[in-house]
C-alpha cells in the first residue's frame, strides 16, 4: 500500500521530525517553537509537568490538531495539514490519556476495528458478507487473535469493554493500536491509574512491542521510574517549550528539568 517512492527508513534514521512547532488556541500558547525528532526503532519519552503541552504535541503528530506554525515531517514527507485518518493510514497509531474505546463493543470487535485500514474489500462484498470479504474477515481475525494472545487478554475477548476494569481497558486500547501494525505508536500515559503490578505488565508489553516488532514508540508518562527504564531518549517540555532533550540519565541530572519538577529554591 505504501507509495513506491517513499524512502526506505532503517533503524536509527529519523522517522518523524518536529520542526519549530507552535500551537495557539486563541491567546493560549500550548506549544512554542518545539523541535525534536523520533528515530526509527527507539522508545522516545515525552515528559513534563502538567499542562506542559505533551498531549497537544501528540495531537499534532497524529493530526487531531494542526500546528499554527512549524512543520512535522513523517517518513521524509512533510504534511502541513494531515487529518487523523490520513495519519493512521500512514502508519501512526495511538492510545489516549483517558481511554477512548468503543465501549459498547467487545474486546474482539474493538481490536478488529483497529484492522479497519488493512481491510480493503469493497462495500459491495461487505454488504453480501461473502466471497473475498468473508475470507478477508477470517484472515484478519487470525491476526487479532495473535494480538489477544500477546496481551494475555483471552479471557475477556467477548466482554463489552465498557464493563472492564480500567487497567484492562488500557490493555485493550493498546491491542487496538497494535492491530494497525503501526510504524509509529503514540502512547499517552499508558500507565496512568495503574497499580504496580499492572504497570510492570504494561512496561513489559511496551518493551516487547518495541523489540519483537521493531515498532517505534513515543510515550508520555509521569512515572519517572518507568520513563528512565523504558526510554532511549527523553524530551522534556515545560509551559509549551522544550527545556531538555537527551538520554534518560542525563535528563535526570539536568538543572532545568529538576527545577521544572521540584521548583527552584528562592
Amino acid at each position: 500500500m505504501r507509495a513506491p517512492d517513499s524512502p526506505v527508513i532503517t533503524k536509527g534514521d529519523v522517522l518523524l521530525a518536529v520542526e519549530n512547532v507552535s500551537l495557539r488556541f486563541g491567546g493560549v500558547k500550548a506549544l512554542s517553537d518545539v523541535s525534536f525528532d523520533i528515530r526509527k526503532g527507539e522508545i522516545r519519552a515525552i515528559i513534563g509537568p502538567n499542562g506542559a503541552g505533551k498531549t497537544s504535541m501528540l495531537n499534532c503528530i497524529n493530526g487531531f490538531y494542526h500546528p499554527t506554525d512549524g512543520s512535522i515531517t513523517f517518513k521524509g514527507e512533510r504534511r502541513p495539514k494531515m487529518r487523523p485518518h490520513v495519519a493512521a493510514r500512514g502508519g501512526i497509531a495511538r492510545t489516549f490519556q483517558n481511554v477512548a474505546l468503543f465501549k459498547g463493543m467487545t474486546t474482539l470487535d474493538n481490536i478488529m476495528a483497529g484492522r479497519s485500514l488493512k481491510m480493503r474489500k469493497g462495500f459491495f462484498w461487505q454488504v453480501l458478507r461473502h466471497g473475498p470479504a468473508l475470507r478477508e474477515e477470517i484472515e484478519h481475525r487470525r491476526v487479532v487473535e495473535d494480538i489477544i494472545d500477546f496481551l494475555e487478554i483471552q479471557a475477556i475477548r467477548k466482554v463489552p469493554v465498557g464493563k472492564l476494569a480500567y487497567g484492562l481497558q488500557k490493555r485493550v486500547e493498546l491491542g487496538r493500536a497494535l492491530a494497525m501494525e503501526p510504524e509509529l505508536l503514540l502512547l499517552d500515559e499508558p500507565m496512568a491509574g495503574m497499580n504496580l503490578e499492572e504497570k510492570e505488565d504494561m512496561s513489559r508489553f511496551v518493551l516487547d512491542v518495541n523489540q519483537q516488532f521493531g515498532t517505534t514508540i513515543a510515550l508520555i508518562e509521569h512515572d519517572m521510574g518507568v520513563v528512565m527504564d523504558l526510554s532511549d531518549r527523553v524530551v522534556v517540555l515545560e509551559y509549551g517549550r522544550k527545556i531538555a532533550d537527551a538520554k534518560p540519565d542525563e535528563v535526570k541530572r539536568d538543572e532545568r528539568v529538576i527545577a521544572a519538577y521540584l521548583g527552584v529554591p528562592h
Binding site: 465501549k103 459498547g104 476495528a113 470479504a133
Partner: protein, 363 residues
C-alpha cells in the same frame, strides 16, 4: 434470633419479580371481579366500566376473525413505522443527529422514482436512478451540511435538518410538482389484489401489497443487522457511534462513514416510500406519517435497531386495535393520537425506551 435468621433466609423473590407477580395477581383479580359483575348483571351495556373493560374483549372472543384482521393491519403499518424509525436510528447512532428530514426523504425518494417514470424513464431504470439520487443526496448532505457544522452542538445539527426538510420539499415540488402521484406498483412487479382467508368462521382479507411490504421490510432489516454486526464497515459505523476520537485514531474516515449512513438511510427511505406509496399514493402528506416514528423511537430507544422494530410493531398494532375496539367510545379517530399517548406514558416511566442503551459508567 430465630426470627432474624428466618428473615435473612426468606427474601427469596427479588423486588422486580415481586412487582410483576403483584401486577399479574391484580389483573387476575380484576378479570374475576368484572366477570362476576357481568354475570350477575351488576354492570352491562351503557355502563362506562363495562364498555371500556369488558365489551371490547367480549367482541374479540366472539369474532376472532375481526381480531386477526385488525392485528394484521396493525402489523403491516407497524412494519412500515419500523422502517421509518430505522432510518432515524441509523443516522442517530452514527452521527448523534436527530434527522428531522427523514420523513421528507421518504417522500422525496418515492417522488423521484414516480416522477422519473412519468417523464418516460423505464421503471427499473428509474429505480436505479432514484437510488443514485439518494447517494448524491447523502454525499451533498455530508459535504454541505454536516462537515461545516462538525463539533457544533447537537441542536445546531438538528436545526440544520429542519432546513434540509424545507429544501427538499421545495426541490421536490419544483421538479415533480406538488400533486399526489400514483406509485408505479405494477411496473415494479409489486403484487396487487388480495387473498381472502377462511378463518374462525369469517373472512380475513390480506392485501398482497401488505404481504410484500412485510416480507421486504423484514429482509431489509435482517440484512442491515448482519451488515452492522459482521462487516468492517458495520463495525466502523458502530465505532463512530461510540467515540469519534477513537474512530479517527484507528483511521476510520468520518466523512466516508457519514456518506454511507445517510445513503443507507436514503435507501431505507426509498423502500418505505415505495411501500407506503403503493398502499395510498405518493404525496407530501406522506411526511406526516414519518412523525409517527417519534413515538416508535421513544418506545424502542433512539439507538436500537431491534427497538425500532419492536416499537414500530407495538405502535402499529396498538393504534389499530385501539381504534377498532375502543375508538367508538371516544367518537373514533383515536388512531391519529393514540401513538403519542403511548409515547407519553413511556416517557414518564421508562425514558430510555424498551431497548435504549443504558449508559455504562464506571465510577
Amino acid at each position: 434470633m430465630a426470627s432474624e435468621a428466618a428473615a435473612i433466609r426468606k427474601p427469596g423473590l427479588d423486588p422486580r419479580a415481586m412487582t410483576w407477580l403483584l401486577a399479574l395477581l391484580g389483573l387476575a383479580a380484576l378479570v374475576a371481579v368484572l366477570t362476576l359483575a357481568t354475570r350477575t348483571g351488576v354492570i352491562g351495556r351503557g355502563n362506562l366500566i363495562y364498555d371500556v373493560l369488558v365489551d371490547p374483549f367480549v367482541l374479540m372472543v366472539q369474532s376472532p376473525d375481526l381480531l386477526v384482521q385488525t392485528l394484521w393491519e396493525g402489523l403491516v403499518s407497524g412494519v412500515l413505522y419500523a422502517l421509518i424509525a430505522l432510518g432515524f436510528v441509523l443516522i442517530f447512532k452514527a452521527s448523534g443527529v436527530f434527522n428531522f428530514a427523514q420523513g421528507i426523504m421518504v417522500v422525496f425518494a418515492a417522488l423521484t422514482l414516480v416522477g422519473l417514470h412519468e417523464k418516460g424513464v423505464p421503471a427499473f431504470l428509474a429505480l436505479i436512478l432514484a437510488i443514485g439520487v439518494m447517494f448524491v443526496l447523502a454525499f451533498a448532505v455530508e459535504r454541505i451540511v454536516l462537515k461545516p457544522l462538525v463539533n457544533q452542538p447537537d441542536i445546531i445539527l438538528f436545526m440544520a435538518t429542519f432546513g434540509l426538510t424545507y429544501f427538499l420539499i421545495g426541490l421536490g415540488e419544483l421538479i415533480f410538482g406538488g400533486n399526489p402521484k400514483q406509485m408505479i406498483s405494477r411496473e415494479l412487479y409489486l403484487p396487487q389484489g388480495s387473498t381472502d382467508l377462511q378463518m374462525f368462521g369469517g373472512l380475513v382479507r390480506l392485501q398482497h401489497i401488505d404481504i410484500a411490504a412485510a416480507v421486504i421490510a423484514s429482509l431489509m432489516i435482517a440484512a442491515l443487522a448482519v451488515f452492522f454486526s459482521k462487516t468492517r464497515i458495520g463495525r466502523a459505523l458502530r465505532a463512530v457511534a461510540d467515540s469519534h476520537k477513537a474512530a479517527l485514531s484507528v483511521g476510520i474516515s468520518l466523512d466516508q462513514i457519514w456518506v454511507i449512513v445517510w445513503f443507507t438511510a436514503g435507501i431505507v427511505a426509498l423502500v418505505t416510500g415505495i411501500m407506503w406509496g403503493a398502499r395510498s399514493d405518493v404525496s407530501f402528506a406522506l411526511q406526516i406519517i414519518a412523525l409517527k416514528a417519534l413515538p416508535v423511537l421513544i418506545l424502542g430507544g433512539f439507538t436500537s435497531i431491534p427497538g425500532a422494530i419492536v416499537g414500530g410493531l407495538i405502535i402499529g398494532v396498538g393504534e389499530k386495535v385501539g381504534e377498532f375496539y375502543w375508538g367508538p367510545l371516544l367518537g373514533g379517530g383515536i388512531e391519529t393520537w393514540l401513538a403519542y399517548m403511548i409515547a407519553l406514558l413511556f416517557l414518564l416511566y421508562r425514558p430510555q425506551g424498551l431497548f435504549g442503551e443504558r449508559i455504562i459508567e464506571r465510577v
